[in-house]
Each structure stands twice: as structure tokens, then as C-alpha cells.
């Protein structure tokens, strides 16, 4: 209760300061809108449904791409950790590609797939898959050999050991990997949406860019706010449960 109150007070204060700064007249309202103006934009965007549509389009791209990235990244990491040849080939490729800022995938995606949903998905997948794969690989390599030996004496072999021992034992690494993958995917999707207009659906990034085209600073601020909120919400919904589980079972884990 006390925590909620502190937080409330802080954000109320923040908006208050913002309001005062906007009222001070130091900056033109065309460049620095008052909180009320941003609020009005958000209300109108909700009323004419553009906000929900954009939110829907963006989250759909993100979720599908992210899911594909995780679902391919984890097995890829398991394979590179298990087989030396895979580590020497796929592993090295992944390491290289992970250093590539994922925005760099936007130009080739547009050339290959045109201004389509596929291009957007491709960018998100590329942002996710390598960091997930590398984290999984790293996690598997850090599993104490003792666990595997203990499991073997209890009759665990092959696939059973991988699924029941190695995978859960590397969970702290995998969770921090999928979290990092999420960060990359989210950033690259926003960049892609700002960079290109996809006619099949306007995402948040596109609304942000329209705001700039229209010189509508209230829209720019409003959408930025929504982007921040989506990021926070995803963190709470997607990762908090895992992190709580890790914390409960493992004790202190800095995942």
C-alpha cells in the first residue's frame, strides 16, 4: 500500500513538473506539449480506434515473431551446445549475427519480402533468435556436470536427461536470454515500423512517424508513452512469472 502510494505520488509529481514546464512558455507548444494535450490526443485516438488498431497490429507482429524466435532459438542453442560441429558452424554464425544491431535486418528484409508483414516478422525473428540461442547454449555449458551424473545413476539417459535435467538446469540463463531477445525484438520492430510503411496494417511505430509528418507533437509524445507502457506490461506479463519461479526455487538468482 505504502509502495503504491509512493509511486503514485512520484508520477503525479512528474506530470505536475511537466505541466509547469510546458506552461512556463520557455518552449513553443509545437515542440513541447502540455500533458493535457497529450491526454486529449490519446482520448481521441482511442475514440476513433486508431490506437487500438495500431496496438493490435504491433503486438501481433511482435508476439508471432517473438514466439518463432524463442521456439527456434532454444533448440538451436541446445544443438550448438551438444554438437561440436554445430557449435563451429551455427554457433559462430549466431555469435556474429548477434553483434549485428537488429535494425540492420530491415533493409534486406524489405528487399527480400517487400513492404509486407513477412518483412516485419523476419526482423523480429532475427532480433530474437540469436540471443535466445546463445543464452541457451551458454546455459547448457554451465550446467554442473554433477547434475548429469546424478541423473544418470538414477536411470536417466539421452532425451530424458536433456529435457528433465539439462533444460531446467539452464533455465536461469534461458530466461535472461529470452528477456534480452525480447528487448532486441521490440526495438527492431519499432525501428522497422518507423522506417517503412506497411500497407497491411499501421503499427505504433507508424503512428509515431505520422505524428512527425503532421508535426503533431502531442501524437508523438502520446505514442511514445504507449510504447513505454507496452514495454513495461510485457515485462510484467511475460517475464515476471518466470523470474518469480526462479527466485522461489533457486533462491537468489540475478536473472
Amino acid at each position: 500500500m505504502k509502495r503504491a502510494f509512493t509511486a503514485l505520488l512520484f508520477f503525479a509529481g512528474l506530470i505536475g513538473v511537466w505541466h509547469l514546464l510546458a506552461m512556463s512558455g520557455r518552449w513553443s507548444p509545437v515542440l513541447f506539449p502540455a500533458p493535457m494535450r497529450v491526454w486529449e490526443y490519446l482520448v481521441s485516438a482511442v475514440e476513433d480506434r486508431t490506437l487500438f488498431e495500431a496496438l493490435g497490429v504491433t503486438t501481433r507482429r511482435l508476439m508471432i515473431g517473438y514466439l518463432i524466435g524463442v521456439v527456434t532459438g532454444v533448440p538451436l542453442g541446445l544443438i550448438t551446445a551438444r554438437f561440436q560441429w554445430a557449435s563451429d558452424t551455427i554457433g559462430v554464425t549466431g555469435l556474429g549475427l548477434q553483434t549485428l544491431p537488429s535494425v540492420c535486418w530491415v533493409p534486406p528484409a524489405l528487399l527480400w519480402f517487400g513492404q509486407t508483414e513477412t518483412a516485419m516478422l523476419f526482423v523480429v525473428v532475427m532480433g530474437t533468435v540469436w540471443s535466445v540461442a546463445l543464452a541457451t547454449d551458454n546455459g547448457v555449458r554451465n550446467v554442473p556436470p554433477m547434475y548429469v551424473r546424478a541423473a544418470r545413476t538414477m536411470g536417466s539417459r539421452g532425451m530424458h536427461t536433456w529435457i528433465q535435467v539439462i533444460l531446467p538446469a539452464s533455465l536461469p540463463f534461458i530466461v535472461s536470454g529470452i528477456k534480452q531477445g525480447w528487448a532486441f525484438a521490440w526495438r527492431s520492430l519499432m525501428a522497422a515500423e518507423i522506417y517503412v510503411t506497411i500497407l497491411t496494417g499501421f503499427g505504433l511505430g507508424q503512428l509515431l512517424n505520422f505524428g512527425r509528418d503532421l508535426n503533431a507533437i502531442d501524437q508523438v509524445f502520446g505514442i511514445m508513452l504507449v510504447i513505454v507502457l507496452v514495454g513495461l506490461l510485457a515485462d510484467k506479463i511475460l517475464f515476471s512469472p518466470w523470474e518469480r519461479f526462479l527466485h522461489r526455487r533457486w533462491g537468489t538468482v540475478n536473472a
Binding site: P144, M146, Y147, R149, A150, A151, R152, T153, M154, G155, S156, H160, Q164, V165, P168, A169, L171, R248, R249, W250, G251
Partner: protein
């Protein structure tokens, strides 16, 4: 007879024979002669302690009986059959507990049971609870591993290795990381449990008193290369008290022998 009773029935302990076993480890150009022509036989239901300085191959020998490592020459036999892989008839309790942190107490004890065919989920739970009670942790069945003290963790590890009802129990310095008080309590418990669930036990330790307290026989190793030097039969009634005078006599006898071998080695 119900399956649970069947599962909990007393299995006959197995006989172990280690015949002329030698083992080398190669790491790059460095070669370690871990065991040199070691022969040892352990009777059905016997409690044997292996003592000796660090690096004399005690863990290596234990791992060979477990089927986790293999001799370069010689053979390891259980009940006359050559050991070719790990098996549920030989369970290991490791130095650090090696419990799985992603499972709670009962989850850990169930791990081996789930790999045993022929048991229903409910029956497995019943068997697991029996062993958790046996080690005195009934109240902690749902606890997470990190919430337990070191002593409690080793109890869980003991329950986990007893649960598949092995014929041989291999223990590698299971109490090394515990404080003296906790250890003393566990000496009592392990003797009681050994009465309840008779197994052939091979127990590795650095602690000579511990060996004299628990073992029917104490086998003394010396390193470089690992060899068996001497054996001591401990003829004391059970349960034994670690602080008793007669036990101290055995302990000092073993310690003297241990020091003597260290001397001859230094003079070599």
C-alpha cells in the same frame, strides 16, 4: 501384496568385487596414475569406509562401482556381473548434495522413482514420502532446496538415493561440508537407517573417526599412485558413539598408519 509394499520390501544387499583395477587419467601431456592394481571385495550388507589423503583415487573407485567411470585394466563386479553402466541397484550420494534446485524436496526424491517402471503416480508419492519420513523431513516435503540447511540437504540426498531401493549405496564424503554437531547427529541417523534399510555401503571420507564410527571395515589408501595399504576391522557394537574411548583407540591406530605411509612416501 500391493505395489507400494512390494516397492518398499527389503532387497538383498549386493556383493562387490574389485579385481586388479588400474586407472590413468590423461589431461594433455599430464598423466595421473589414479589407481594401481586395487583389489577389494565387499560383502553383502557390509559397511566399508575408504580413507586416505586427497588424490588417492577414492572417488575414482566409487565412480567405477557406480558405472560412471571405467577401469583401464581389471574389472569391477556386482553380484559377479561386470559393471558396464550406471544402474538403479547402485545409488550414489555425492559430496555436494547435487540435488536439483528446480525441484522441491519431494520432486527430487521422486526423480529416480519416476524412472522406475510399473509404479502409479500415487504409489510413487507414497514411496517417496516413506523415505522423506525415514530421514526425518516429513514437514519439509514441499520445501525448496535453497531453503534447507546443509544437513537437511544431505538428508534429502540420502532419501533420494534410497528411494529407488538400491542394493548398494555409494557415498562420497557426504558429510564433509557439515559442521561437527550436524555430523554427529547424522552418524546416529545413518546407523539407524542402515538398520532399517540394509544395504551394502561404500563410504568415502577424510575423517578417520567418522570411518571408525560407521564402518565394519576401514580401508586405507595412499596416493601417487592410488593403492590400498591396510585394512582395519572395527569390532565394536552398534550403534556406536563417535565420542567413545574404544572408538578413539581405533581412530588413533588408523591415524598412525596414515602418517606412517605419508612418511615413507616423503622418503621415497
Amino acid at each position: 501384496m500391493s505395489t507400494v509394499a512390494e516397492e518398499l520390501r527389503q532387497v538383498t544387499p549386493a556383493k562387490l568385487s574389485i579385481e586388479h583395477v588400474s586407472k590413468w587419467f590423461r589431461e594433455g601431456v599430464v598423466q595421473t596414475h589414479a589407481l594401481d592394481d586395487v583389489s577389494l571385495s565387499v560383502d553383502e550388507g557390509e559397511f566399508v569406509c575408504l580413507v586416505g589423503p586427497s588424490g588417492c583415487g577414492k572417488s575414482t573407485l566409487l565412480n567405477m562401482i557406480a558405472g560412471l567411470e571405467f577401469p583401464d585394466s581389471g574389472t569391477v563386479l556386482t553380484e559377479g556381473r561386470k559393471v558396464t553402466e550406471p544402474g538403479r541397484d547402485r545409488m550414489v550420494m555425492f559430496q555436494e548434495s547435487a540435488l536439483f534446485p528446480w525441484l522441491n524436496v519431494i520432486g527430487n526424491v521422486l526423480f529416480g522413482l519416476k524412472l522406475k517402471p510399473g509404479l502409479k503416480e500415487k504409489e510413487r508419492l507414497e514411496v517417496a514420502m516413506y523415505y522423506i519420513q525415514l530421514v526425518g523431513l516429513a514437514r519439509y516435503a514441499k520445501s525448496n532446496i535453497h531453503e534447507l540447511s546443509g544437513g537437511m540437504r544431505q538428508r534429502v540426498a540420502l532419501a533420494r538415493s534410497l528411494a529407488p531401493n538400491p542394493r548398494v549405496l555409494l557415498m562420497d564424503e557426504p558429510f564433509a561440508a557439515l559442521d561437527a554437531m550436524t555430523r554427529e547427529q547424522l552418524y546416529g541417523d545413518i546407523q539407524t537407517i542402515w538398520e532399517a534399510r540394509k544395504k551394502t555401503i561404500v563410504f568415502v571420507t577424510h575423517n578417520v573417526r567418522e570411518a571408525a564410527c560407521l564402518g565394519d571395515r576401514v580401508v586405507l589408501f595412499s596416493p601417487h599412485p592410488g593403492r590400498i595399504r591396510e585394512e582395519f576391522k572395527i569390532e565394536l557394537p552398534r550403534p556406536r558413539d563417535i565420542n567413545s574411548a574404544s572408538l578413539a583407540n581405533y581412530a588413533s591406530e588408523i591415524t598412525t598408519a596414515l602418517k606412517a605411509y605419508r612418511k615413507t612416501e616423503e622418503n621415497d
